[in-house]
Symmetry: C3
Subunit: 262 residues, 3 copies
């Protein structure tokens, strides 16, 4: 079955919800991308907070609208805090999103990601290698980068969504978002985004925020992908390289409006 | 009693001291804002250093001119290192500054902040919700963001300053700096600064540096607030959103001079 | 013996190798500079990955092309993970690079750096105070900043290189790179680079990547210094201060080509 393209008006409706509700997002993410992740959420109008001590993480997961779990620089201590936060979010009925960075390539995080998967994330966001590995197939990543195109992981993403109950976003040159039944495609962005650390990780935080909005979770998550791709497309026309891309990208996220969705 | 407005010449005199002395600031701060904090201090002419291992933190707190304690991503291990550094700074007669991020909202850090408060910080910098909570009143923050205007915490700030011996800065649309007796107001800045992560946390690092300068601690801390607000006001006229704000803001801090104080 | 100046064509040849091979660099570095370090490596065409859990660090050090060990925010836990990664890199024949941040000023890291030195790094990159301290002489740093010019550490750098087997880069206004026998000098850059946190730490990551390339290790490491100095010289002409320097610098690294080497 061919994926549908997310429409501009669909994305615009989710963006309006995003700005109105300003979701409070509890980010448990890797050391490398925390600042950029927070700035992406702030530029879009959300409210990020990073809380990591195990007791506090459990306490805060109940207060926040959404929880992000990113395993990029996982440690044993952080893994315990993450599990406490997930359990707490689940009890409070808050959606949580998994970014399984480099899963499959390294053993400790692979075990953790499988364990977390059983705790029913609302959404999962990864590149093709990561989604393949999380679905139990050979992913073949290189460090944190995918060696596969998103298309190669599409059937694995559908299977993973069906089995886990999560909306799965496999992102790359084109992003595909699936609930196992229906699949939406999101185009845009630019290869320059792969030369800036954290664009994928920040997308996962946006996905986490979107998963807390009312309406179709499939469309909400796809709209999160759309916001990032649209801002990326705009920023790449206003920059001279990956350095000037970053401020232009945050400005574009801040300025995104209904008109940009047309 | 009405707060006085800090004057341009007062701020200029502190800025000159800041540049001349280039305080070495030991920053024990949260994971999200370390880079931005260091870049703010460097742009203003200070020398930042992040040292976190407990023995080293105690050793370095004696060597540095000032110590910053920010509890944004507090862990049990980091809390122990912070207490060791505070004790060491106190023994060596070095001023330390407390940024009680999200105090009141989360239990572990609230206990830590109260314990730290008894160790006599030279200065405290927080938003209204945080200052209210630290003073023992209901703050009502939302994650790391205040739900109150600075004015609402002014009497709590005065009471906290009188009781703790610290100069207390409660910051927001207008910043108020008080020693319990006298209060200075600092105007300027822009709401766009709330869409960039770490502006408040970096201000606390500047306050820590200022607290190591000679002269009136009340005026020194207010001048730190003034430097950040003045650079923010300049940067906001030279940017298109929160992304381009950050480089413009660091440039403005770097270029701040006597003329900008007029 | 007078140092030779690295020539443009020598640097260009290494840059071509760098871009072609896109080394996968395992960065175990300090909390403050991780984002900037990753962005510098990405701008130059390398593939950075930060992996820190002890078992994973040992596993990943075998998969990566190069390993960076930077002790800026060393903790006891991280020190153990670093030693595991170094041992693993050595077994797999992967070169590792040491950045001994603030060695000599603080006891715990000084002990660690001496222990690491015995594990035969391929390269060492530090400022004059750090190289003097690592070589066993009095360095006299101030926090993380050098109080000495690079020239003052040149004979210590030669001695350290001869004794350890590492290529040693002592960097400052002029960078000197030595294998104990031959020394190359690299000119360029700008003092503004000392007002941006992480330029030295990111250089160490570039040196780590360069040490994995074929050919003369002395020339490879000197070429890494050259790339950073050349991009710094270009960026400083396109910026208004340390804030706008950073995006201009990353753009310049991304755009570096054979012509820039002429």
């Amino acid at each position: 079955m061919q994926p549908d393209l997310l429409s501009g008006p669909q994305a615009a409706a989710v963006l309006t919800q995003f700005r109105t509700r300003s979701p409070l997002v509890h980010c448990m993410t890797n050391e490398v991308v925390q600042t950029f992740t927070a700035n992406v959420l702030l530029a879009l109008g959300a409210s990020p907070a990073m809380v990591i001590e195990p007791d506090e993480a459990a306490q805060f997961a109940r207060l926040a609208d959404a929880l992000l779990i990113n395993i990029g620089t996982l440690t044993r201590e952080r893994a315990g805090a993450m599990l406490a936060a997930i359990e707490s979010a689940n009890q409070a009925g808050r959606p949580w999103t998994l970014d399984p960075v480099a899963v499959g390539a390294l053993d400790f995080r692979t075990g953790f990601a499988r364990e977390a998967l059983a705790l029913r994330p609302a959404a999962i966001r990864g590149n093709a290698s990561e989604i393949l590995a999380l679905a139990g197939e050979r992913g073949g990543g290189r460090g944190v980068d995918s060696t596969q195109r998103a298309e190669a992981a599409l059937s694995a993403a559908r299977e993973l969504a069906g089995r886990s109950g999560a909306v799965v976003a496999v992102t790359g040159e084109v992003d595909y978002v699936t609930d196992g039944e229906r699949t939406l495609a999101v185009r845009g962005g630019d290869v320059l985004m792969t030369r800036v650390v954290g664009t994928g990780c920040a997308l996962s935080a946006v996905v986490a925020a979107c998963a807390s909005l009312p309406g179709s979770q499939l469309e909400n998550v796809a709209a999160g992908c759309w916001m990032m791709k649209r801002a990326g497309s705009l920023a790449v026309t206003r920059c001279a390289g990956p350095g000037s891309f970053t401020p232009a990208f945050l400005d574009a996220l801040y300025q995104l409006n209904r008109e940009a969705c047309a």
